[in-house]
Symmetry: C2
Amino acid sequence: TAVINASVAGAVLEAFDRLDASSQVWGAKGGITGLLNETFIGLRQQPNGIWDGIRVAPGAALGSCRKKLTEEDVACAVALCRKHDIRYFFYVGGNDSMDTANMLSKAAQASGYEMLVAGVPKTIDNDLAETDFCPGYGSAARFYAQAMIDLGMDIRSLPTPICLMEVMGRNAGWLTAATMLARRAPDDAPHLIYVPEVRLSREKFLADVKEVYDRQGWVVIAISEGMCDEKGESLSLPTGKVAADGFGHRMVGDVAPALARLIMGELGLRARNEKPGLIARASSHHVSPVDREVAEGVGRFAAQRVFAGETDFMAAIRRESDPPFRVSYFPVPLEKVANAERLLPAEYVADGGNDIAESFREYAEPLVGGELRRYARLRW
Amino acid sequence: TAVINASVAGAVLEAFDRLDASSQVWGAKGGITGLLNETFIGLRQQPNGIWDGIRVAPGAALGSCRKKLTEEDVACAVALCRKHDIRYFFYVGGNDSMDTANMLSKAAQASGYEMLVAGVPKTIDNDLAETDFCPGYGSAARFYAQAMIDLGMDIRSLPTPICLMEVMGRNAGWLTAATMLARRAPDDAPHLIYVPEVRLSREKFLADVKEVYDRQGWVVIAISEGMCDEKGESLSLPTGKVAADGFGHRMVGDVAPALARLIMGELGLRARNEKPGLIARASSHHVSPVDREVAEGVGRFAAQRVFAGETDFMAAIRRESDPPFRVSYFPVPLEKVANAERLLPAEYVADGGNDIAESFREYAEPLVGGELRRYARLRW
């Protein structure tokens, strides 16, 4: 995400403060694969001032992986921690990463090796349980909401009547839902919003598009990359034989080009599709200040608790007040988040399954961190 | 584009200054279709101060069209200008729009109706003849270059080894070429750049990708939406029966998902694809200050010359010095630009046809208007 490095910086700077100077602070290159390969990066040995830059850089400065640990891997990881005298272990990530941290923590305890383990939440998908939101979400939500405003300005003036914007999110519609923040006037984009929590038949989709088109002559659609039809089959283009990552998650995406073709074929209307993809996740121009601050705060909190002797938890975020938007942090047991997935609650999906309820604005607006850029229009 | 309204504002504000207050200044809603439908927007009747907002709004504030004029349309358009006593006519756009302006200008002259006609260049494709560059290009180029930096940061840290970014541009590779500005270090993205001026066989493409992958383990590719294979067939996904716009241009795009599937199928490597599409064109966060200033300047210049009695020209841009980057404006006959298309010169394509020559930096860098955002990386 655009703010994962803020979390890493928070935890690392806290470690520099609290550990004596002779102790090493290592980063594992490529997450857990870095531990298994013993490829460590000396974080104390970095140039002065580098953390000011790392804190605001998008992407994972330590690298990442998509590795599902086998029991053998876990035993090996614990043995390597023991070998290198690793006593504190932080893992930043989403559901799968919390699963990894949980397995490592439990295995260390079972083998009698004393190592304190904390998870730090990070995912643009916003689908971790027990926390009000996940760092990374607010910034990606800001990108998509702003992109929807900008795109709406362009499509409004274009003779191409239909445009789909594909939004990241395999199972959870939090990001797709955030495009509703683009709307202020009744005819503002997006006019239809589809989240993967609702299964969508092609017939219903075409009927929705036709209804809006007949009414106002142009249709901008936000659609999750993870959309499935009523049988649970992906609506996206087939990806061929490379279909799953290390966790067995299918490769999704390109639902927008597939549905643009459906519209052109069945309704005979020109349909564009746009898919910012990882550009949405990596855009430092759209970082939410709130998101970055909380990302760093939750990393610091995890480190403070670990160095105070706590273990086996993920640092979670509680919304304390709004306005002013204020959060606090608290630990939740790793096993409570490791295999949970928090989907968009049904109350946020509007009746008909093709829009997001207005009540969602209250949840999401503070997270995108301030006013979006709105534009003047001529009066006619 | 993100700056077309700056050109409109330039011409309109000049008209307010130079015409007496009893004269009307109209916008035609939806370009030439607005004239043919007699749907005019009173520009003097807009709220005070609105131009400060319109000038920085993306999308065409007056709307746009993709209408190829028939001879009958042209005669009708001239008759309507006569009916409404339209004496000055400005048209902002690319090759097709200059063709429209040229037809209208010639028809008015032939029928003895005195109307002064000027074209104002605007296209992110940068493919108008006779002008050093086209307003709109610098801002879209800035978006793509910055997005490539951001995307590179993310992909560098990801276990997904291949990523394609699709760039707008049907026949001309100017925008795709601009992604080379993202590079500073030898392994920075993009590692391969494909422009539509070079035909690309699937075999050559796969061999290029494999070569870079074998060498460095990750590959980021910039590829034009307009890419064709060695037979001249589009490499993009088929679009079905809705295939052409009003000018007979085929609907292109979705070349990146098509080639991602080719890579997955033939090389067995996971390949993502990202396609910002119109978001690149509309993003006001990435406007190049130089681009906006010139967009307004060229609109003002067109109006100054028209109100001084000149006609039948497009306002063009000449690069006077660099650094400091300074331009001047000059008129070129509409018929010289109406049906021309300026492709990326062969000297800017690197040997092998899979990259852009370093010399292109000198042309493009001033247009994106200042430093791009670069990020810190950990040392290892």
